[in-house]
Symmetry: C3
Subunit: 139 residues, 3 copies
């Protein structure tokens, strides 16, 4: 069984945001699978998807602080500067964190660990709506 | 054909560890597939999975030294500090390196390059046992 | 439906290179699938695959500048130094960026965003030809 759905995420501020529930709600087909995989893909190069702690919001703000420190704006060697100070760092963060996550499906549920959630990494100051393509397969 | 198995890895010290053999031994179904994919997923947010060199152990210790230098403990901007100095860096390393690897299956074997192995990144000082979900599919 | 192909990329200089067209041209089976996934895997530990901006070449040179600054050569703690100054950084970049990308297939095409392309990260000074294994599945 295959299913695929495009999800348009509402605009969010720069930072990391939990989107696990939005994905699960829009893919009821997950419940029909005893074993499978869910592939969540973001069609942008200045945002990212990753898995991390789903409980304490300070993990998300510390992630944002870390990546701002280690992927700096206005690095002297940047040449791609005409789309704003946040643009080239956003591209680097996107590749560092990744454009997709793949999650096992077990007995009709995403087989996430107790503390795992799906993060949207919004790396632009005003990134706007973001589009995901979620692909479900299994049996 | 689909197969899925949970593997409990024994506790390992902080650092990078080769776990290719453990995965292959527990998934004999790989041998039945002429073409397919193996998805290895870790159900934790303070450890990671990645592929890297399977020969010289100094690659693994240098990886640990690099990520300790570039994902520092006690960064002044961390707020998530109550679970230990190693906790927030472990979350960042987990997202930087990733929670899963996907490996092609070709003629009954994982189609890894000659020098590629699966690394567990144990990012906590005392992370304990770690749980993987391995999903195999193909024909 | 499953298809799998090994692609030998020609040697490229150190840096990031767009390879989307090469992958699509060698996998005409993509056109037969209404829904599916393409998994692109590199069988090396000193090169990487990632998705990023497919338009302005300065994104690729800035990516190279960033990763050279934040994954330095000759770090004082490296012990794996006998294969050249570029070797250990190449291993770290490979794990930071990743060894594979998975892309949805929708109506016979890779469902990349408008600005997304597949990057080869060549992290050695003289990495030579690089081998990919591309696995297509869907219906």
């Amino acid at each position: 069984m295959w299913a695929q759905k495009t999800i348009n995420l509402r605009a969010r501020p720069r930072g990391f945001h939990l989107i696990t529930d939005e994905i699960e709600q829009q893919l009821p087909q997950i419940r029909e699978l005893s074993v499978g995989l869910a592939h969540v893909f973001i069609q942008h190069t200045s945002a990212s998807l990753t898995l991390n702690e789903n409980a304490d919001p300070s993990v998300r703000t510390d992630m944002e602080a870390h990546f701002n420190a280690f992927v700096p704006e206005r690095a002297p060697y940047y040449e791609h500067i005409y789309e704003g100070d946040d643009d080239m760092p956003a591209h680097i963060k996107s590749s560092t964190l990744g454009s997709s996550v793949s999650i096992p499906i077990t007995n009709g549920r995403l087989a996430l660990g107790t503390w795992q959630g799906v993060y949207l990494g919004e790396h632009r100051d005003h990134g706007g709506s973001r589009r995901l393509v979620v692909t479900i397969q299994g049996e």
